[in-house]
């Protein structure tokens, strides 16, 4: 019992794997930073990278609701658009220098999207399954139509002249680098926050609701609260992704945030594996890059894209990663256990 006194500390093995992961992240960041800075990665490619990181934020946050909470949501693009317009309008009209306005805009985008999450979530989360999907779908469409109808959002013409995230006159490379830094670290932050959340007592409660809502309630889990919590958290990050998107593209067109886009995000989450954060990251990266690789085939591009999706779903219906997570320490542990002769089963967690 006495050695239990020091349980306030982080276990050593965990600390080591955190340090390794942090180091790997930093190396990856610096590597791509240098590649962009010296022009090896051109503006076009770095633009795709930016989209990729935005998609990671969207997919991982949707996975929190659809994968961990187990509720089908078809309005993620709606929350994204709320964030996108919030941030864009803020940087356009706040009068603050962009280097200050943009970070504030990001937070604001998340908060406003989260507020919408509460407004939608309170009535919608009484329902589940198909019904919830339809309500969120309806919400996404309503938002789009409202944006179309309003003057201050630019209506159907879209919102133009959204300032770039660096002061005017900055050169293209430093702009690419600034975008890259923002999306990279915000994607990392999103993943870390959701990952840590899922592993906390609150995350366990959320997963328990997915597994069996009635049993979760009977085990003392305040199901309404946790459902709303996860829903709002996902909305927040979708808003953040929206703010990044707005300042990446520079023009907001309401038709971008339609039903198709919500489905596209859901597709990434399903393909990666509902309930797997690393799966979401892999799928978001793959499905952002894949269409670019297929550009050479022009006419057959979308066909091949669709066929790949069908093949994955046929052979791995639970998604690429299922509910499993990719972790370095897990692989190392598996390798060392194989070495030591205990190679009978490597599945496990």
């Amino acid at each position: 019992m006495t050695n239990q006194k020091k349980t306030g500390l982080i276990p050593k093995s965990k600390l080591l794997s955190y340090a390794v992961n942090a180091a790997l992240l930093l190396i990856t960041y610096v590597l791509f930073f240098v590649l962009i800075a010296n022009g090896t990665i051109n503006r076009y490619t770095s633009g795709i990278m930016t989209t990729m990181f935005i998609n990671i934020i969207l997919t991982v946050s949707l996975n929190l609701v659809s994968g961990f909470l187990g509720q089908l949501v078809l309005g993620h693009a709606g929350f994204m658009s709320v964030g996108a317009y919030t941030a864009a309008l803020f940087t356009l009209y706040s009068g603050l220098p962009i280097t200050i306005a943009f970070p504030i805009g990001i937070v604001l985008a998340g908060v406003v999207a989260a507020v919408f999450g509460v407004i939608i979530g309170v009535p919608a989360l009484r329902l589940r399954g198909d019904y919830l999907a339809i309500i969120t779908l309806g919400f996404g469409e309503i938002i789009r139509v409202i944006i179309l109808a309003c003057d201050f959002t630019g209506g159907a013409k879209g919102l133009r002249g959204i300032p770039t995230i660096l002061p005017q006159g900055s050169d293209a490379t430093s702009l690419s680098l600034a975008k890259y830094s923002y999306v990279f670290w915000l994607a990392v932050l999103t993943v870390v926050i959701i990952w840590a959340f899922v592993r906390s007592r609150h995350g366990r409660a959320v997963i328990a609701i997915r597994e069996d809502e009635i049993a979760a309630e009977a085990s003392g889990v305040h199901t309404t609260y946790y459902k709303l919590f996860a829903f709002v958290m996902a909305a927040f990050f979708a808003g953040v992704a929206g703010s990044l998107y707005a300042h990446h593209i520079g023009v907001l067109d309401p038709s971008k945030f339609n039903f198709d886009y919500s489905v596209e995000i859901l597709l990434m989450a399903v393909l990666g594996g509902l309930g797997s954060i690393t799966g979401s990251i892999i799928a978001a990266v793959a499905l952002t890059i894949l269409p670019e690789f297929l550009r050479g085939f022009e006419d057959y591009r979308m066909l091949i894209y669709a066929v790949i999706l069908i093949i994955v779903m046929l052979f791995k219906p639970s998604g690429l990663m299922g509910q499993h997570e990719f972790s370095l320490s897990g692989i190392l542990a598996r390798l060392s256990s194989k070495k030591s002769g205990a190679l009978k089963k490597g599945k496990g967690e």
Binding site: I193, A196, S200, I207, A215, A218, S219, G220, T223
Partner: protein, 269 residues
Amino acid sequence: MALVEKEKLLQQDKTDRPVLEAENLGIVFGGLHAVEDVHFSLRREQIMGLIGPNGAGKTTVFNLLTGVYTPTTGQIKLEGQSILGKKTYQITKLGIARTFQNIRLFKDMSVLDNVRVAMNQKMEYSALAGILGLPSYWREEAAIEEKAMELLSVFHLENNAGDRAKNLPYGQQRKLEIARALAADPKVLLLDEPAAGMNPTETAELMETIKLIRDRFHVAVLLIEHDMSFVMGICEHLVVLDYGRIIASGSPEEVRTNPKVIAAYLGGE
């Protein structure tokens, strides 16, 4: 001498005081009186059986006690406090935990996590502390893991802690469900057909387990069961339901010989 006597009396009083009372409990679905005028009181550490033919309303009584349904009439008191109108999760917090007729485990979660979910309500660190990995997170998680493992070892499940719940054999799944209910630290444990689908050896073992739980965790147990040898072997008091009404109540001996009960089970004239 007198002091010892007094203490004994006090102890007696403590065990005699009902922990769960139901008075005039009833619920109407449409025009159907599913449960009507049900009353009983469960003492501390008492094992009580709720029996009756299929469709008699036994599970409905459980659902009333746990707040799944709100009774149309009557009163439910836990340690003298009314729990009427409280939500299921609140009632669990107050001290009534249950298992289900058809096992409801968190199938894709580990055995350990199944138990930890039920301990969630006793934990305190905030979502932010969990995300930031503050000391309170590590401290509470370590403490809860130790507690959960201790509980699992009571049911000989400690070696399966890392397995997914759905991969356990049937008997162990039943045990895990009871362990999960106990993890909520209840005063009253409601078991809905705990011996369903078990063979005689497993049933005998379950009887021992339930007695052990009662003695070790000081809970009162109210159970629904069809296996009469099980019911007669373990229950100190029986309540017999038929068509939503109590037709008999008393010790297993009294109930066994009650003509109304025999008629309900075998069909009277």
